[in-house]
Symmetry: C2
Subunit: 216 residues, 2 copies
DNA sequence: ATTATCTATAGATCTATAGATAATGC
DNA sequence: ATTATCTATAGATCTATAGATAATGC
């Protein structure tokens, strides 16, 4: 049955199927024959839509990383919360497809977190953050968010609930105390990690919302 | 030539050879036949020393991650610098073997960064950091360090020197200004990222070195 | 003429096991 | 008897290309 009336394959259906396979059967199960079977076609037909396998994987990475919506927020003293929201979005997207974490690491689209760095830099400027800190913030946010979410994605099921596994109160009393004192979930730790970083970056800077912006 | 007088293969030589292959030929080039050839033996002989391929890769990850020495430092107000040194060590180890980054992500040994969490928690306590922040610090440090180093390792050669590639001063003036204002290298950004996080975590806490410790 | 599928297949691997073999250590 | 290698190979893939074929769109 060569050339059907309606195309059997589209780039988006290939990406969706790939993610489905990786999610349910794991990364090792993913191959072009497996993907083709899932779509009800033959493997060579995939080459009509993608140059090669890596192009498919790159599209998968883009799909997963770009799934979240970009939060809207006005510049101002609570500018860090914009980044917290952005980071939580990406974390959720990555954790939804934990099996794909190695793909994301390998095919990381730049401007993953911050779709338009320019716009985000302006947001920082309008919030009164000095220009010399912008690169620190943009670069740090990207690395922290992607990195922390990826490592969290790779943790085994046991390490997900208990943050540090196998702590013996007898031999590790200080650590046991620390764990007992902790009231935060993984998600809250992640969120607070981002917040801490941002507050730390501006720790010595005078943050004042410029008049021109404040009065807009 | 079955059973030589001196064993031809050892776990450490296998790990070293694996790293050498991955470093110079890339991760895709790594296979048991390739590894065996490198060592001058036949592939099945490797199974006498390792249960399977993944056991070799896990050993590779452990070797790379555990290569750095643990800095010694006395507790006190400059406790963050201990963590900065720890993080820089791990970053260097990871960047020395960038091709192995996906392996590290997959076979991440827990207690990668902080060999003994207990000891580190005590260091924090002795430095006057409140117990309720210990988990935030230990968990955050591990995630930030590993994550940021891994994403840095995966960056292409062009993105290494220029932190944000392809910035057009015409259409992206704010970002261009930010880049012009930045005087930090990738390493310094990493270092400062860690420092910012730690200062941020304790931003609202009273840090006082306890008398018992300070007077030791 | 172009497009989107198919069949067939080249060509190259790869992981892991079974069983033989000779050196070693007791 | 155990150890550390080897040969041989099962068994399963996989990626990608060449070339055929029929539907589509001009």
């Amino acid at each position: 049955m060569p050339r059907p009336s309606q195309p059997l394959i589209s780039r988006s259906s290939v990406v969706a199927a790939s993610i489905e396979i990786i999610d349910t059967e794991g990364l090792d199960a993913f191959s072009l024959p497996r993907l083709a079977k899932f779509l009800g076609v033959r493997a060579p037909s995939l080459y009509h839509h993608f140059a090669d396998k890596s192009e498919i994987l790159a599209a998968v990475a883009r799909q997963i990383a770009g799934a979240g919506s970009i939060p809207r927020r006005k510049p101002g003293p609570d500018w860090p919360e914009f980044f917290v929201a952005l980071a939580l979005n990406l974390r959720r997207s990555i954790l939804r497809h934990r099996n794909a974490a190695p793909i994301l690491l390998q095919y990381l689209p730049r401007d993953l977190l911050i779709s338009t760095y320019e716009e985000t830099a302006r947001f920082l400027a309008d919030s009164g953050v000095p220009a010399h800190l912008h690169v620190q913030i943009l670069d740090g946010m990207e690395r922290i968010t992607v990195g922390a979410a990826l490592t969290e994605a790779m943790r085994g099921p046991s390490s997900r609930t208990t943050i540090f596994p196998n702590v013996d109160p007898e031999s590790q009393p200080v650590l046991a105390t620390a764990l007992a004192e902790n009231r935060m979930t993984s998600k809250q730790l992640f969120e607070e990690m981002v917040r801490s970083f941002l507050h730390g970056v501006v720790r010595d800077a005078e943050i004042a919302v410029p008049e021109t912006v404040a009065s807009r």
